[in-house]
Subunit: 432 residues, 2 copies
C-alpha cells in the first residue's frame, strides 16, 4: 500500500521537512531525499511555541519513557507506540573513572533499553508511530542487527506486518533475537552497505515503510532523546564532553541536535559540549577523514568484530565530522583487540555488559583520556548503546572457563586453592 | 573475614529479624535460620513510623530505582548500591489480552532490569548493600544462572570480591553472562539443590556473604519492590490478580508482603489480590502439593528446560502454597512444549522476549484463563522475570531460519514469493 499524508493535530510542534543542504522545504510525508539536490531531509519544529508551552515540570510530569519529550518528536498521535522505551539509567561510573583517571564519568546505559536492549528502540518507537500515522501496514529496515531486533519487536507489539533485511553473517544472538518476534527475515549475502542499497530499491517498488530509508527523517529524531535524557538526569545541565559510537553518524548528530534544541527553547543553560566519536579500526571512514583533516568521507569495506557499527559508507558521516570539529571533540578508532578489552573493562569495573559497539566506545574513551584530549575535570558522558548478550561470540574466547567441581566441600577447596594459585601467578611481577 | 554487626542509623525503619515459625527474635546480623526451631528468619519494620513518615509524594520524589522504597528495605546506608535497578516498565498488553480473551492485562517486565536483565538485580542490590554494612568483602551465591549474573555484576560495580556457584549444565548465555564480570565461577556437577547444600557448608566455613544463604533475610526483601512498583505504576492501586513464577517461592511471598505492607501503612486502599503461581511440569513440587491439597511440599528431581526455576526442594514452598490458597489464587504447571509456545506468544503479541521462566508464566496464565480461574474483567499483572537472550537454546529449533538471498531485487522478490506461499500453506484450513 502507499503512504498517505495525515494532517498534523494541534498538539504537534513539528511543521515540515527541510533539506540539510539546499534548504528546500517539504510536507512531512514518507520522503527522505531532496528532489533538487539529493541532500538528506530533516524535521523542523516551531521552536517559539515549544519555548512557550513546554517546561521542565511539564516534561517531568510525563511518562517514564521517551514520550515525555513528545513535543520534540515528529508524531501527531495522541497515543504513540509506548513500550516503555527510554529513560534508561545514567550511572555514575566511579570505579571506571578511577581506573582511567577521570573525576566525573557517567555511563548512559541503553544496554537495558526496553524492549530489545539497544538505543534502536528509541528511533523505532518514533518511526513506527509515524509509519502508522502515514498509513503504512508493513514496516521494514536495513539492519546490522539491533535495528532488526527492535523493528520486529515493536512491530509485533503494534500489530504491524514486518520484513527485515540483515547481512547473512550476523551474530547468532541478533538473528535469533529477531526471528523470535515472527517477522519475515531476509539474510542478504553481502555487507550492510549492500543490504542498504537493496532496501532502497525495495522501498521504491513495494510501498513499505522502511524505518531508516523513507521514514529516516522521523526515525533519526528518536536519537535526540539520548541528549534530552542526559540533560534531565544531570539535573537539567549539559555535560562537558560526550563520547558516542559512530556508525552512520546519525546518533551522534542527533544527540547534538537534542542538546541545541533544549538550549534554544530555554530548558537548559548554554555552554560548550565537546562531542567525540568512536569507530572500529576495521571500519573507520569517519575517523580516517578526521585524522587526515578531510571534509569528505571516503567509503571503506568493513572488516571488524564490531558489526553493529560496521557501515562503510556512512550517510551522516560528514555531519558527524563537522560536529566533532566545531565542538572541539575528537574522533578515534579502536582495534578489535582493544574493543574486547573495552567490553571486559566496563564489565569488571561497573557491572555493565555491552556489545562490541560499547567496547569500541570504552576503548576510545580510554585512548582520549590517555592522549589528554579529555580533561579529568570534565563531566564526561559515555553512551553505551547495546547489550553484550547479543554478541557473545566476540568475547567467548577471552573470559576463561568456570572451575568444574563435584558437589563436595573438599572438591571446592581444591578448586579454590588452584584458582588462587593461578591468580598469584597472574600477578607475579616479572623478575629481571 | 567474619561478619560484624553495624548498628542501624536513625534513617532505618527495620528493627530486627523474626522467625516465621516460632516468632523468636534476633539482631539483624548475617543469620537466616532460627536457632530454636530451624525456621526461616524474616525482617521486621517499625510500620507505625513508616505510616507517619513515608508518603506517596516522598516516594515519587525518590530515585528512579528500587531505592525510592528505601524505608521499606533492610539497609542502613545513606548511599546504597544503586545501579539503576528497578522501576522497569509496566506494559499494558493489549494484543496478548485480546488473544487470551482478557480485558485488563499488564506485563511487569524485569527482562529489561538493570544491570543483568532479571529480577535478581533487585534482591542482589539489597543483599550486597547489607553485606557491605555487615563488613563482608567477599560475596557469593548458589545460583540457577540469573543470580550468578547479578551477583557478579553488582559485586564488580561495588568493588567486592565474588565467587559464585552454578550447576555445570547451565545455558551458555548465563555462564558467559557471569564470567564477563571477572568473578570466580564454580560449576558444580549436580543440580541446583546439590549446589545449594554445598554452599551452606561453604558459608559455615569461609565467612563469606552468600546473598541467598546467610544474607537471605535481607536479600529476599528486595523482591517486595516488584509489589510496590506495580501498585505505584497502576496509579496507587492494587491489581485484582497476579501471576508469578515459583522457584524457591520467595519472590511470590515477597510480592504479597509488599502489597500488604503498603496497605498497612496506608499507601494504598485495601482490596483482595488473588496470587497465582507458575511452575514447569518437570519441576513442580509446589503445583503438585496445590493440586493434591497437601500442606507440605515433597522434594522432586528437576527435569525441565526452565532451569532458572528448577528448584526441587523450594525453601519457601509452603508459604507460597498458603498465600495462593488464602488469596483464592491457583498454582499450575506447564510442559516444556507449552513453555516454548509461551515465549513465542509473548514475543509475537507484545514484542517482549523472555526466558523459559517467563514462558512458563505466560503458559500458566493461558491455562488459568482457559480454565476460567482468571476472570476477563480482572486487572491482571503477569511478572516476566528474565530475558530470552540468556536461554537461546530453548527456542532456537522452534523459530525458523532467515531466508538467504543475494543482494539483488530479483533474488528478494523470489524469496518473498516463496515465503508468502509457505505462509498461505501454513494457514490453509484442513479440508475434511
Amino acid at each position: 500500500m502507499t503512504a498517505t499524508l495525515t494532517s498534523t493535530t494541534e498538539a504537534a510542534y513539528f511543521t515540515h521537512l527541510k533539506c540539510k543542504e539546499c534548504g528546500a522545504e517539504y510536507e512531512p510525508q514518507a520522503i527522505h531525499v531532496c528532489e533538487y539536490c539529493f541532500g538528506p531531509l530533516e524535521v523542523k519544529y516551531d521552536l517559539n511555541r515549544l519555548a512557550t508551552e513546554v517546561s521542565r515540570s511539564s516534561i517531568e510530569a510525563g511518562p517514564q519513557s521517551i514520550w515525555r519529550y513528545r513535543p520534540f518528536l515528529p508524531v501527531t498521535s495522541a497515543n504513540p507506540i509506548d513500550v516503555g522505551t527510554g529513560m534508561t539509567p545514567l550511572v555514575k561510573a566511579q570505579r571506571l573513572a578511577r581506573r582511567l583517571g577521570l573525576k566525573h564519568l557517567y555511563i548512559k546505559n541503553d544496554a537495558v533499553n526496553m524492549p530489545t536492549l539497544s538505543f534502536k528502540d528509541r528511533v523505532v518507537s518514533v518511526a513506527l508511530t509515524r509509519a502508522r500515522e502515514l498509513g503504512f501496514t508493513t514496516v521494514s529496515c536495513a539492519s546490522t542487527g539491533n535495528l532488526a531486533n527492535s523493528t520486529a519487536a515493536i512491530a509485533a507489539h503494534a500489530g504491524l506486518d514486518c520484513c527485515v533485511f540483515i547481512p547473512a553473517d550476523l551474530e547468532a544472538g541478533k538473528v535469533l533475537g529477531t526471528l523470535i518476534y515472527g517477522p519475515t527475515v531476509m539474510a542478504v549475502e553481502g555487507n550492510y552497505d549492500q543490504v542498504n542499497r537493496l532496501c532502497s530499491e525495495v522501498a521504491n517498488t513495494h510501498g513499505w515503510g522502511f524505518v531508516n530509508i523513507n521514514l529516516r527523517p522521523y526515525y533519526s529524531e528518536g536519537s535526540k532523546t539520548l541528549g534530552y535524557e542526559v540533560v534531565e538526569q544531570l539535573g537539567w545541565q549539559l555535560p562537558d564532553h560526550i563520547v558516542a559510537p559512530l556508525a552512520s553518524g546519525s546518533l551522534f548528530t542527533k544527540i547534538y541536535k537534542g542538546f541545541r534544541e533544549f538550549v534554544e527553547v530555554g530548558l537548559v543553560a548554554d555552554k560548550p559540549v565537546r562531542c567525540s566519536g568512536a569507530q572500529a579500526v576495521g571500519c573507520s571512514p569517519i575517523a580516517q577523514a578526521y585524522a587526515e583533516g578531510r571534509d569528505f568521507v571516503a567509503p571503506v569495506k568493513p572488516n571488524t568484530i564490531a558489526k553493529s557499527i560496521a557501515i562503510g559508507n556512512p550517510a551522516d558521516g560528514v555531519y558527524a565530522l563537522d560536529i566533532a570539529r566545531k565542538t572541539n571533540g575528537a574522533i578515534a578508532a579502536a582495534t578489535d583487540e582493544e574493543i574486547v578489552a573495552g567490553i571486559k573493562l566496563l564489565a569488571e569495573t561497573e557491572g555493565i555488559f555491552t556489545e562490541t559497539a560499547g567496547g569500541t566506545t570504552i576503548a576510545v574513551l580510554k585512548k582520549l583520556v590517555e592522549a589528554g584530549t579529555i580533561d579529568p575535570e570534565e563531566v564526561t558522558v559515555v553512551y553505551i548503546t547495546g547489550n553484550g548478550l547479543k554478541t557473545q561470540e566476540a568475547v567467548q574466547n577471552d573470559i576463561g572457563q568456570p572451575l568444574t567441581i563435584e558437589p563436595k566441600l573438599a572438591s571446592f577447596e581444591r578448586a579454590l586453592e588452584r584458582s588462587r594459585t593461578l591468580e598469584r601467578l597472574d600477578w607475579q611481577p616479572v623478575l629481571v
